[in-house]
């Protein structure tokens, strides 16, 4: 705790964390301007609250926690614009008997499924594929798999029902999987 307090240097925040927080945010919120605003507001909120910092978490983790809250707030704020559940997507993955259509059926990937991926290319393509999702699918995907938010909380933030949630997760995974298979040469 004491160590954390000694290492608490608000005047060095921008130099030490701005790029890292920005990379964190832009992979979750796709709009550059909005991601910059989130980072800036993270610093501002932290600055205003700096006298309340007690050193329970490291300075870095404290800033990340503030940033993560701002990201969820961002989704909450934009939920109404994103939710357009009436637009039904055409099903390009399954036929009328609910079986995979020929081209959509998952092919075998030559990947070490248990090992961490260090390929920059993989992450770049995953990011591009994620950006092709509809905003609402992206929001659900980010909160669930990147922010580890509870499904109940996600539904509350976005104002959607549990059944909307399951459908969105399903579609997001179908699109991402297909897009990775098509574009990531690492698996062929």
């Amino acid at each position: 705790m004491e160590e954390n307090l000694l290492a608490f240097k608000p005047d060095k925040w921008v130099g030490n964390y701005a790029d890292a927080l920005y990379a964190y945010t832009i992979t979750r919120v796709k709009d550059v301007q909005q991601a910059e605003d989130i980072v800036q507001n993270t610093f501002l909120s932290a600055w205003k609250a700096r006298d309340t910092y007690k050193g329970q978490a490291s300075e870095k983790n404290w800033l990340y926690a503030i940033c993560k809250n701002k990201i969820i707030d961002h989704f909450r704020k934009h939920a109404a614009d994103m939710v357009n559940l009436s637009s039904k997507e055409e099903d390009m993955y399954f036929d009328q008997g609910d079986h995979w259509t020929g081209d959509a059926a998952p092919k075998a990937w030559s990947v070490h499924f248990q090992q961490p991926v260090e390929s920059k290319e993989f992450y770049a393509i995953l990011d591009q594929c994620k950006q092709k999702l509809k905003d609402i699918q992206q929001a659900v995907f980010v909160m669930k798999y990147m922010e580890d938010t509870d499904s109940e909380e996600i539904c509350k933030v976005l104002g959607i029902t549990t059944s909307n949630y399951w459908v969105l997760i399903h579609r997001a995974k179908l699109h991402l999987r297909k897009c990775l298979e098509k574009n990531w040469i690492g698996i062929h």
Partner: protein, 83 residues
């Protein structure tokens, strides 16, 4: 009819149920249906393995990103953090 129809699932429903499985929210019958489906369907087994793989790693995307903020933007932020 018979036992097969009772536990039969299409691939669309099976892949849908995989997300529920992840969160431990399958009904007992769904659990049996899905288990049976995955035993006989290579495509859906692949789907499970592949989606688990990329969802597990998606949170690390930022550590492999080389995007940075402009110096100009950073200077602006520094200016804001003053009393």
């Amino acid at each position: 009819m018979g036992i097969f129809n009772f536990i039969h699932l299409g691939c669309k429903k099976a892949t849908f149920l995989l997300s529920k499985k992840e969160e431990g929210k399958l009904m007992p019958l769904e659990k049996i249906q899905l288990k049976f489906h995955l035993l006989i369907c290579d495509f859906c087994s692949r789907f499970e393995k592949q989606t688990r793989f990329f969802t597990k790693h998606s949170g690390n995307m930022h550590t492999h990103s080389s995007t940075t903020l402009s110096e100009e933007k950073k200077e602006k932020m520094k200016d804001l953090l003053k009393d």
